[in-house]
Amino acid sequence: MVEWTDFERATIQSVFEKMDYDDVGPAALSRCLVVYPWTQRYFGNFGNLYNAAAIQGNPMVAAHGKTVLHGLDRAVKNMDDIKATYAELSVLHSEKLRVDPDNFRLLADCLTIVVAARMGADFTADVQGAFQKFLAVVVSSLGRQYH
C-alpha cells in the first residue's frame, strides 16, 4: 500500500482542483506526440499528425487528451487504492489497446511539464515531488495487469 503524507494528499487534490482539463489534457497529449513521435503509433486513425502544428491543432488529439486526463480523476478520488482502481483499465490497455507501458511514463513526464508551465512558481520542488509520486503510482498500476 502506498503511504501518502498529509502534504501529498492535499497537494494532489489542490493541483487537480485548480487544473483546467480542457487546456491541460490536449496540451499534454499533443506534447507527448511531438516530443516522443513513436507514440503516434497508437493513433493511426487520428488523421493529420504530420508535424507539430498539425498535432497541436488536431481535434481528435484534443478530445483524447481530455479523456485521458479525466481518467486520472478516479485515482485522485481513491488515492489509497489506486492499484485496484485501475485494474480494469490496465487490462484494457494491455489486452485491447496493446500500449507499451513505457508510454504511460512518457505521457506522465509531459503532463508534469505542462502542469509546471501552468502553475509557474507554485510548482515548487515539494509539489513536483508529490505530483510525480502520484503519477508514478498511476503508471505502475496501469502496467500491473500486463502479462
Binding site: 499533443s30 511531438v34 507539430a52 497541436q56 511539464i113 520542488a125 513536483q128
Partner: protein, 143 residues
C-alpha cells in the same frame, strides 16, 4: 537520435534567450533533483548543508548549468568537446548515468516553469534530444 541542423539552431537560440537566468535555472534544477529524487543526495554526502535552497546546492547547480552551456557551444561535436568532463564523471565522480536522465528531466521542468510561453513542444523535443546527447557524451569514458 542525432540533432538536425534546424534543431541545433533551436537549441542554441533558446539557450541564448534564457542565458540571463542560467544561474537560476541551474540552482532550481539541482534543488529539485535532490528533493524529488532523494537518492541523488548520495553523491553529496560530503556537503554540510543539503537543503535545497542552501548555498552548496545553489552553487553546484550554477556549476552544472555552466557545463550545459559549454555543451551548447560544442554542439557540433559533443563527444570530443566534452571529453574532459566525461573523464571527470567517469573516473572521479563516478555518477551513475541514470542520474543524467533524471537531471535532464528536472532541467526541462524548470525551463517549462520559468519560460512557459517559449518552451513549446518543438523547443522541448530539441532540448530533450540535446540533453540526452550531452548525457551520452558524458558517459563516453565510463567503460
Amino acid at each position: 537520435m542525432s540533432l538536425s541542423a534546424k534543431e541545433k539552431v533551436i537549441v542554441k537560440d533558446f539557450f541564448a534567450k534564457v542565458s540571463s537566468r542560467s544561474d537560476e535555472i541551474g540552482a532550481e534544477a539541482l534543488a529539485r533533483l535532490i528533493v524529488v529524487y532523494p537518492q541523488t543526495k548520495s553523491y553529496f554526502a560530503h556537503w554540510k548543508d543539503l537543503s535545497p535552497n542552501g548555498a552548496p546546492v545553489r552553487k553546484h547547480g550554477i556549476t552544472v548549468m555552466g557545463g550545459v552551456y559549454e555543451a551548447v557551444s560544442k554542439i557540433d561535436d559533443l563527444a570530443g568537446g566534452l571529453l574532459t568532463l566525461s573523464e571527470l564523471h567517469a573516473f572521479m565522480l563516478r555518477v551513475d548515468p541514470v542520474n543524467f536522465k533524471i537531471l535532464s528531466h528536472c532541467i526541462l521542468v524548470v525551463l517549462s516553469m520559468l519560460f512557459a510561453e517559449e518552451f513549446t513542444p518543438q523547443i522541448h523535443v530539441a532540448v530533450d534530444k540535446f540533453l540526452a546527447l550531452v548525457a551520452l557524451a558524458l558517459s563516453e569514458k565510463y567503460r
